[in-house]
Protein backbone atom coordinates (compact mmCIF):
# COMPACT_ATOMS: atom_id res chain seq x y z
CA UNK A 1 0.00 0.00 0.00
CA UNK A 2 3.01 2.28 -0.28
CA UNK A 3 1.78 3.92 -3.45
CA UNK A 4 -1.75 4.43 -2.15
CA UNK A 5 -3.05 7.95 -2.55
CA UNK A 6 -6.06 9.99 -1.54
CA UNK A 7 -8.65 11.89 -3.52
CA UNK A 8 -11.90 13.52 -2.45
CA UNK A 9 -15.52 12.57 -3.04
CA UNK A 10 -17.98 15.29 -1.96
CA UNK A 11 -15.26 16.71 0.30
CA UNK A 12 -14.48 13.38 2.00
CA UNK A 13 -10.95 11.99 1.71
CA UNK A 14 -10.93 8.58 0.05
CA UNK A 15 -7.99 6.21 -0.12
CA UNK A 16 -7.24 4.56 -3.47
CA UNK A 17 -4.65 2.31 -5.03
CA UNK A 18 -3.26 3.00 -8.51
CA UNK A 19 -5.52 1.41 -11.13
CA UNK A 20 -8.61 1.52 -8.97
CA UNK A 21 -11.64 3.19 -10.48
CA UNK A 22 -13.43 5.99 -8.67
CA UNK A 23 -16.27 3.60 -7.92
CA UNK A 24 -14.05 0.81 -6.56
CA UNK A 25 -12.35 3.23 -4.19
CA UNK A 26 -15.71 4.74 -3.20
CA UNK A 27 -17.20 1.30 -2.49
CA UNK A 28 -14.26 0.41 -0.26
CA UNK A 29 -14.63 3.70 1.57
CA UNK A 30 -18.37 3.19 2.13
CA UNK A 31 -19.51 5.86 -0.32
CA UNK A 32 -22.27 4.68 -2.64
CA UNK A 33 -22.26 5.82 -6.25
CA UNK A 34 -25.49 4.75 -8.01
CA UNK A 35 -24.96 2.23 -10.82
CA UNK A 36 -26.99 -0.13 -12.99
CA UNK A 37 -24.72 -1.74 -15.59
CA UNK A 38 -21.86 -2.30 -13.16
CA UNK A 39 -21.91 -5.46 -11.08
CA UNK A 40 -19.43 -6.93 -8.65
CA UNK A 41 -17.37 -9.63 -10.31
CA UNK A 42 -17.98 -8.39 -13.87
CA UNK A 43 -15.67 -6.20 -15.90
CA UNK A 44 -16.72 -2.57 -16.01
CA UNK A 45 -18.64 -1.32 -19.01
CA UNK A 46 -19.55 2.34 -18.40
CA UNK A 47 -22.76 1.91 -20.38
CA UNK A 48 -25.69 3.10 -18.30
CA UNK A 49 -24.01 6.34 -17.14
CA UNK A 50 -26.07 6.34 -13.93
CA UNK A 51 -22.75 6.46 -12.06
CA UNK A 52 -21.79 9.71 -13.80
CA UNK A 53 -19.84 11.96 -11.45
CA UNK A 54 -18.19 15.31 -11.97
CA UNK A 55 -14.42 14.97 -11.74
CA UNK A 56 -11.73 17.32 -12.93
CA UNK A 57 -14.28 19.58 -14.61
CA UNK A 58 -15.76 16.76 -16.69
CA UNK A 59 -18.65 14.33 -16.37
CA UNK A 60 -17.22 10.82 -16.24
CA UNK A 61 -18.50 7.31 -15.52
CA UNK A 62 -17.24 6.48 -12.03
CA UNK A 63 -17.18 2.75 -12.83
CA UNK A 64 -14.55 3.12 -15.56
CA UNK A 65 -12.69 6.33 -14.67
CA UNK A 66 -9.48 5.64 -12.72
CA UNK A 67 -9.05 7.51 -9.47
CA UNK A 68 -6.20 10.01 -9.47
CA UNK A 69 -4.30 11.65 -6.62
CA UNK A 70 -5.94 14.89 -5.57
CA UNK A 71 -9.00 14.41 -7.79
CA UNK A 72 -12.09 16.26 -6.58
CA UNK A 73 -15.23 14.23 -7.29
CA UNK A 74 -18.78 15.50 -7.05
CA UNK A 75 -21.14 12.59 -6.44
CA UNK A 76 -24.15 12.92 -4.15
CA UNK A 77 -25.35 16.41 -5.05
CA UNK A 78 -28.79 17.56 -6.23
CA UNK A 79 -27.43 18.37 -9.71
CA UNK A 80 -25.81 14.92 -10.19
CA UNK A 81 -28.82 13.10 -8.82
CA UNK A 82 -31.21 15.04 -11.03
CA UNK A 83 -29.30 13.91 -14.12
CA UNK A 84 -29.25 10.35 -12.81
CA UNK A 85 -32.97 10.48 -12.17
CA UNK A 86 -33.57 11.63 -15.73
CA UNK A 87 -31.47 8.73 -17.01
CA UNK A 88 -33.40 6.22 -14.92
CA UNK A 89 -36.68 7.80 -15.94
CA UNK A 90 -35.73 7.49 -19.60
CA UNK A 91 -34.97 3.80 -19.04
CA UNK A 92 -38.48 3.42 -17.61
CA UNK A 93 -39.91 5.18 -20.65
CA UNK A 94 -37.85 3.27 -23.19
CA UNK A 95 -39.12 -0.17 -22.19
CA UNK A 96 -42.29 -1.56 -20.66
CA UNK A 97 -41.67 -1.48 -16.92
CA UNK A 98 -44.97 -2.43 -15.31
CA UNK A 99 -43.84 -2.88 -11.73
CA UNK A 100 -47.19 -4.14 -10.39
CA UNK A 101 -47.12 -7.21 -12.66
CA UNK A 102 -43.38 -7.92 -12.61
CA UNK A 103 -42.04 -10.77 -10.47
CA UNK A 104 -38.79 -8.87 -10.03
CA UNK A 105 -40.58 -6.02 -8.27
CA UNK A 106 -39.00 -5.43 -4.87
CA UNK A 107 -35.79 -7.10 -6.02
CA UNK A 108 -35.37 -4.90 -9.11
CA UNK A 109 -32.38 -2.57 -9.18
CA UNK A 110 -33.98 -0.23 -11.72
CA UNK A 111 -37.01 0.19 -9.46
CA UNK A 112 -34.84 0.56 -6.37
CA UNK A 113 -32.75 3.18 -8.17
CA UNK A 114 -35.94 5.09 -8.99
CA UNK A 115 -36.81 5.03 -5.27
CA UNK A 116 -33.36 6.21 -4.28
CA UNK A 117 -33.36 9.01 -6.84
CA UNK A 118 -36.97 9.94 -5.95
CA UNK A 119 -38.53 9.43 -9.34
CA UNK A 120 -42.02 10.69 -8.46
CA UNK A 121 -42.46 13.85 -10.50
CA UNK A 122 -45.05 13.91 -13.26
CA UNK A 123 -43.23 12.65 -16.32
CA UNK A 124 -41.90 14.84 -19.11
CA UNK A 125 -40.73 12.17 -21.52
CA UNK A 126 -42.90 10.27 -23.99
CA UNK A 127 -43.63 6.62 -23.28
CA UNK A 128 -42.13 4.67 -26.16
CA UNK A 129 -44.09 1.50 -25.32
CA UNK A 130 -42.11 -0.82 -27.54
CA UNK A 131 -43.44 -4.22 -28.53
CA UNK A 132 -40.53 -6.56 -27.97
CA UNK A 133 -40.37 -10.32 -28.10
CA UNK A 134 -40.95 -12.70 -25.23
CA UNK A 135 -38.77 -15.81 -25.44
CA UNK A 136 -40.17 -18.64 -23.33
CA UNK A 137 -38.57 -21.42 -25.37
CA UNK A 138 -36.12 -22.54 -22.68
CA UNK A 139 -37.52 -25.01 -20.13
CA UNK A 140 -36.09 -23.16 -17.10
CA UNK A 141 -35.60 -19.56 -18.25
CA UNK A 142 -37.83 -16.94 -19.83
CA UNK A 143 -36.70 -13.70 -21.46
CA UNK A 144 -39.03 -10.72 -21.40
CA UNK A 145 -37.01 -8.22 -23.37
CA UNK A 146 -39.65 -5.52 -22.80
CA UNK A 147 -37.94 -5.07 -19.43
CA UNK A 148 -34.36 -5.16 -20.74
CA UNK A 149 -32.34 -1.99 -20.10
CA UNK A 150 -29.39 -3.15 -22.27
CA UNK A 151 -27.01 -3.00 -19.31
CA UNK A 152 -25.02 -5.89 -20.76
CA UNK A 153 -24.44 -7.66 -17.44
CA UNK A 154 -25.67 -10.98 -18.88
CA UNK A 155 -23.37 -10.54 -21.89
CA UNK A 156 -20.28 -10.04 -19.73
CA UNK A 157 -21.24 -12.79 -17.28
CA UNK A 158 -21.92 -15.28 -20.06
CA UNK A 159 -18.67 -14.48 -21.85
CA UNK A 160 -16.29 -14.03 -18.95
CA UNK A 161 -17.64 -16.30 -16.21
CA UNK A 162 -19.69 -18.98 -17.98
CA UNK A 163 -17.44 -18.99 -21.05
CA UNK A 164 -20.49 -19.43 -23.28
CA UNK A 165 -21.29 -16.15 -25.00
CA UNK A 166 -25.04 -16.82 -24.92
CA UNK A 167 -25.88 -13.11 -25.04
CA UNK A 168 -24.63 -10.27 -27.21
CA UNK A 169 -25.60 -6.86 -28.48
CA UNK A 170 -27.24 -6.44 -31.89
CA UNK A 171 -28.21 -3.21 -33.68
CA UNK A 172 -26.98 0.31 -33.15
CA UNK A 173 -28.08 3.44 -31.34
CA UNK A 174 -31.57 3.33 -29.89
CA UNK A 175 -32.10 0.03 -31.76
CA UNK A 176 -29.33 -1.71 -29.86
CA UNK A 177 -30.71 -4.75 -28.07
CA UNK A 178 -29.46 -7.75 -26.20
CA UNK A 179 -29.96 -10.88 -28.30
CA UNK A 180 -29.21 -14.57 -27.83
CA UNK A 181 -26.71 -16.63 -29.78
CA UNK A 182 -29.25 -18.78 -31.64
CA UNK A 183 -32.79 -18.79 -33.02
CA UNK A 184 -34.10 -18.73 -29.44
CA UNK A 185 -32.82 -19.32 -25.91
CA UNK A 186 -33.61 -23.04 -26.01
CA UNK A 187 -31.16 -23.45 -28.90
CA UNK A 188 -28.23 -21.91 -27.04
CA UNK A 189 -26.00 -23.33 -24.35
CA UNK A 190 -27.89 -21.40 -21.66
CA UNK A 191 -28.49 -23.16 -18.33
CA UNK A 192 -30.40 -21.86 -15.35
CA UNK A 193 -27.29 -22.31 -13.21
CA UNK A 194 -25.26 -19.90 -15.38
CA UNK A 195 -23.89 -16.78 -13.73
CA UNK A 196 -25.52 -14.81 -16.55
CA UNK A 197 -28.96 -15.76 -15.27
CA UNK A 198 -28.30 -14.31 -11.82
CA UNK A 199 -27.00 -10.85 -12.73
CA UNK A 200 -30.00 -9.29 -14.50
CA UNK A 201 -30.87 -6.10 -12.58
CA UNK A 202 -34.44 -6.06 -13.92
CA UNK A 203 -37.10 -8.67 -14.66
CA UNK A 204 -35.85 -9.55 -18.14
CA UNK A 205 -34.15 -12.87 -17.35
CA UNK A 206 -36.70 -14.82 -15.35
CA UNK A 207 -36.32 -18.20 -13.72
CA UNK A 208 -39.41 -20.20 -14.55
CA UNK A 209 -41.42 -21.78 -11.78
CA UNK A 210 -40.50 -19.21 -9.17
CA UNK A 211 -42.98 -16.42 -9.73
CA UNK A 212 -43.62 -14.19 -6.75
CA UNK A 213 -41.84 -16.51 -4.33
CA UNK A 214 -40.62 -13.85 -1.90
CA UNK A 215 -43.44 -12.17 0.02
CA UNK A 216 -43.73 -8.38 0.11
CA UNK A 217 -41.76 -7.18 3.10
CA UNK A 218 -38.95 -9.71 2.66
CA UNK A 219 -37.65 -8.63 -0.76
CA UNK A 220 -34.20 -7.15 -1.30
CA UNK A 221 -35.28 -3.51 -1.36
CA UNK A 222 -38.26 -3.62 0.99
CA UNK A 223 -36.05 -2.37 3.80
CA UNK A 224 -33.33 0.10 3.01
CA UNK A 225 -32.45 1.96 -0.16
CA UNK A 226 -30.26 0.41 -2.83
CA UNK A 227 -26.66 0.94 -1.81
CA UNK A 228 -27.29 1.07 1.92
CA UNK A 229 -25.04 -1.96 2.51
CA UNK A 230 -22.14 0.04 1.01
CA UNK A 231 -23.00 3.17 2.96
CA UNK A 232 -23.17 1.19 6.20
CA UNK A 233 -19.47 0.33 5.86
CA UNK A 234 -18.71 3.95 6.62
CA UNK A 235 -20.37 3.97 10.01
Amino acid sequence: MTDAFTFRIDGVDVLARPGQTIMEAADAAGIYIPRLCDHEGLRHQGGCRVCTVRAGGRSVAACTQPAEPGLDVENDTPARNRIRRDLVEMLFHEGNHLCPICEKSGNCELQAMAYRLEMTQPTRFPWLEPCRALDASHPDIALDTNRCISCGRCIRASQDIDGKGVFGYVGRGIHRRVAVNGPDLAHTGAAVTDAAMAVCPVGCIIRKGEGFSTPIGERAFDHGLIGHEIEEKRK
Binding site: L98, A114, T120, T123, E129
Partner: protein
Protein backbone atom coordinates in the same frame (compact mmCIF):
# COMPACT_ATOMS: atom_id res chain seq x y z
CA UNK B 1 -64.74 28.77 7.61
CA UNK B 2 -65.42 26.40 4.75
CA UNK B 3 -63.46 23.21 4.71
CA UNK B 4 -61.26 22.34 1.71
CA UNK B 5 -63.16 20.30 -0.83
CA UNK B 6 -61.85 17.04 -2.24
CA UNK B 7 -63.12 15.24 -5.35
CA UNK B 8 -62.09 11.75 -6.39
CA UNK B 9 -62.73 9.51 -9.38
CA UNK B 10 -61.74 6.10 -10.66
CA UNK B 11 -61.00 6.00 -14.41
CA UNK B 12 -59.28 2.97 -15.92
CA UNK B 13 -58.41 1.57 -12.50
CA UNK B 14 -59.60 -1.29 -10.34
CA UNK B 15 -60.88 0.84 -7.46
CA UNK B 16 -57.96 -0.52 -5.46
CA UNK B 17 -56.62 3.00 -4.88
CA UNK B 18 -59.99 4.06 -3.54
CA UNK B 19 -59.95 0.99 -1.32
CA UNK B 20 -56.49 2.10 -0.18
CA UNK B 21 -58.22 5.13 1.29
CA UNK B 22 -59.67 2.75 3.84
CA UNK B 23 -56.13 1.70 4.80
CA UNK B 24 -55.89 5.07 6.52
CA UNK B 25 -58.05 3.35 9.18
CA UNK B 26 -59.14 5.66 11.99
CA UNK B 27 -57.13 8.52 10.49
CA UNK B 28 -59.89 8.69 7.91
CA UNK B 29 -62.04 10.26 10.65
CA UNK B 30 -59.33 12.88 11.24
CA UNK B 31 -59.22 13.61 7.54
CA UNK B 32 -63.02 13.74 7.18
CA UNK B 33 -63.11 16.39 9.90
CA UNK B 34 -60.76 18.58 7.87
CA UNK B 35 -62.18 18.24 4.35
CA UNK B 36 -65.47 17.90 2.60
CA UNK B 37 -65.93 15.44 -0.23
CA UNK B 38 -67.50 16.72 -3.40
CA UNK B 39 -67.79 14.63 -6.56
CA UNK B 40 -66.60 11.17 -5.59
CA UNK B 41 -67.70 7.54 -5.50
CA UNK B 42 -67.63 8.01 -1.72
CA UNK B 43 -70.48 10.56 -1.90
CA UNK B 44 -72.00 9.17 -5.11
CA UNK B 45 -72.08 12.70 -6.54
CA UNK B 46 -71.69 12.40 -10.32
CA UNK B 47 -71.00 16.07 -11.03
CA UNK B 48 -69.09 18.86 -9.30
CA UNK B 49 -71.23 20.99 -6.97
CA UNK B 50 -68.56 23.72 -6.95
CA UNK B 51 -64.82 24.21 -7.45
CA UNK B 52 -62.62 21.85 -5.45
CA UNK B 53 -59.25 22.31 -3.79
CA UNK B 54 -57.95 18.81 -4.41
CA UNK B 55 -58.84 16.34 -7.15
CA UNK B 56 -57.68 12.75 -6.86
CA UNK B 57 -57.53 10.58 -9.98
CA UNK B 58 -57.28 6.81 -9.89
CA UNK B 59 -56.54 5.04 -13.17
CA UNK B 60 -55.41 6.16 -16.60
CA UNK B 61 -57.54 6.84 -19.67
CA UNK B 62 -58.68 3.83 -21.69
CA UNK B 63 -61.80 5.33 -23.27
CA UNK B 64 -63.34 8.58 -24.41
CA UNK B 65 -65.35 9.06 -21.23
CA UNK B 66 -62.19 8.81 -19.10
CA UNK B 67 -60.66 11.66 -21.08
CA UNK B 68 -63.75 13.87 -20.67
CA UNK B 69 -63.88 13.15 -16.93
CA UNK B 70 -60.18 13.85 -16.49
CA UNK B 71 -60.40 17.17 -18.33
CA UNK B 72 -63.41 18.10 -16.18
CA UNK B 73 -61.41 17.32 -13.04
CA UNK B 74 -58.51 19.47 -14.23
CA UNK B 75 -60.93 22.30 -14.93
CA UNK B 76 -62.58 22.08 -11.50
CA UNK B 77 -59.68 21.29 -9.17
CA UNK B 78 -56.83 23.49 -7.96
CA UNK B 79 -54.45 20.63 -7.24
CA UNK B 80 -54.74 17.45 -9.26
CA UNK B 81 -53.25 14.25 -7.85
CA UNK B 82 -52.60 11.11 -9.87
CA UNK B 83 -53.06 8.32 -7.33
CA UNK B 84 -51.40 4.98 -8.06
CA UNK B 85 -49.50 3.41 -10.95
CA UNK B 86 -52.43 3.27 -13.40
CA UNK B 87 -52.97 7.03 -13.19
CA UNK B 88 -49.21 7.62 -13.33
CA UNK B 89 -48.14 5.31 -16.14
CA UNK B 90 -51.15 3.33 -17.33
CA UNK B 91 -50.59 0.39 -15.02
CA UNK B 92 -52.16 -2.98 -15.67
CA UNK B 93 -54.65 -1.72 -18.29
CA UNK B 94 -51.63 -0.49 -20.28
CA UNK B 95 -50.69 -4.13 -20.86
CA UNK B 96 -53.17 -3.97 -23.69
CA UNK B 97 -51.01 -1.38 -25.43
CA UNK B 98 -48.77 -4.25 -26.47
CA UNK B 99 -51.50 -5.64 -28.72
CA UNK B 100 -53.55 -2.57 -29.62
CA UNK B 101 -50.90 -1.14 -31.93
CA UNK B 102 -51.80 -3.58 -34.68
CA UNK B 103 -55.16 -4.59 -36.17
CA UNK B 104 -54.72 -8.34 -36.33
CA UNK B 105 -54.01 -9.11 -32.68
CA UNK B 106 -56.77 -6.68 -31.68
CA UNK B 107 -59.30 -8.34 -33.98
CA UNK B 108 -58.28 -11.74 -32.66
CA UNK B 109 -58.78 -10.52 -29.10
CA UNK B 110 -62.23 -9.02 -29.73
CA UNK B 111 -63.33 -12.05 -31.74
CA UNK B 112 -62.34 -14.44 -29.02
CA UNK B 113 -64.04 -12.29 -26.40
CA UNK B 114 -67.32 -11.78 -28.26
CA UNK B 115 -67.62 -14.20 -31.18
CA UNK B 116 -65.52 -17.34 -31.18
CA UNK B 117 -64.79 -18.03 -27.51
CA UNK B 118 -66.04 -21.43 -26.31
CA UNK B 119 -68.18 -20.17 -23.42
CA UNK B 120 -70.07 -17.35 -25.12
CA UNK B 121 -73.75 -16.53 -25.39
CA UNK B 122 -73.80 -13.53 -27.71
CA UNK B 123 -77.13 -13.51 -29.55
CA UNK B 124 -76.26 -10.50 -31.73
CA UNK B 125 -73.12 -12.18 -33.10
CA UNK B 126 -71.47 -8.78 -33.15
CA UNK B 127 -68.71 -7.09 -31.23
CA UNK B 128 -70.60 -4.62 -28.96
CA UNK B 129 -70.92 -1.32 -30.77
CA UNK B 130 -73.72 0.52 -28.95
CA UNK B 131 -73.39 4.33 -29.12
CA UNK B 132 -73.94 4.41 -25.35
CA UNK B 133 -70.68 2.53 -24.84
CA UNK B 134 -67.69 4.87 -24.47
CA UNK B 135 -65.36 4.56 -27.41
CA UNK B 136 -62.23 2.60 -26.53
CA UNK B 137 -59.04 4.54 -27.20
CA UNK B 138 -56.19 3.21 -29.33
CA UNK B 139 -54.21 2.68 -26.16
CA UNK B 140 -54.26 3.40 -22.43
CA UNK B 141 -52.88 6.85 -21.63
CA UNK B 142 -51.36 7.95 -18.33
CA UNK B 143 -53.15 11.01 -16.87
CA UNK B 144 -50.13 13.24 -17.48
CA UNK B 145 -50.47 12.57 -21.23
CA UNK B 146 -53.92 14.23 -21.19
CA UNK B 147 -53.75 17.03 -18.59
CA UNK B 148 -51.20 18.64 -16.30
CA UNK B 149 -50.80 16.64 -13.13
CA UNK B 150 -49.48 18.39 -10.02
CA UNK B 151 -48.61 15.48 -7.75
CA UNK B 152 -48.16 11.76 -8.31
CA UNK B 153 -48.60 9.36 -5.39
CA UNK B 154 -46.94 6.09 -6.45
CA UNK B 155 -48.01 2.61 -5.48
CA UNK B 156 -50.22 -0.27 -6.55
CA UNK B 157 -52.07 0.51 -4.48
CA UNK B 158 -50.44 3.37 -2.54
CA UNK B 159 -50.28 2.67 1.20
CA UNK B 160 -52.74 4.34 3.53
CA UNK B 161 -49.74 6.03 5.18
CA UNK B 162 -48.49 7.74 2.04
CA UNK B 163 -52.01 8.88 1.08
CA UNK B 164 -52.72 10.28 4.54
CA UNK B 165 -49.34 11.97 4.92
CA UNK B 166 -49.53 13.55 1.45
CA UNK B 167 -53.07 14.86 1.92
CA UNK B 168 -52.31 16.14 5.42
CA UNK B 169 -49.15 17.89 4.22
CA UNK B 170 -51.08 19.43 1.33
CA UNK B 171 -53.78 20.71 3.66
CA UNK B 172 -51.11 22.12 5.99
CA UNK B 173 -49.27 23.65 3.06
CA UNK B 174 -46.12 21.73 3.95
CA UNK B 175 -45.89 19.18 1.12
CA UNK B 176 -42.33 18.97 -0.20
CA UNK B 177 -42.24 15.51 -1.76
CA UNK B 178 -42.15 12.00 -0.36
CA UNK B 179 -39.90 10.16 2.04
CA UNK B 180 -37.93 8.10 -0.49
CA UNK B 181 -37.67 5.14 1.87
CA UNK B 182 -41.42 4.76 1.57
CA UNK B 183 -41.74 4.94 -2.20
CA UNK B 184 -43.23 1.83 -3.79
CA UNK B 185 -44.29 1.20 -7.36
CA UNK B 186 -46.09 -2.03 -6.44
Amino acid sequence: MTRPRVATVSLAGCFGCHMAFLDMDERLVTLMARVEFDRSPLTDLKTFTRRCDIGIIEGGCCNEENVHTLIEFRRNCDVLIALGQCAIMGGLPAMRNAIMHADDPLRECLEEAYLTGPYLRNLTRHVPNDPALPLILDKVYPCSDIVDIDIQIPGCAPSGDIIFDTLTALLDGTFHGFDRARLRFD
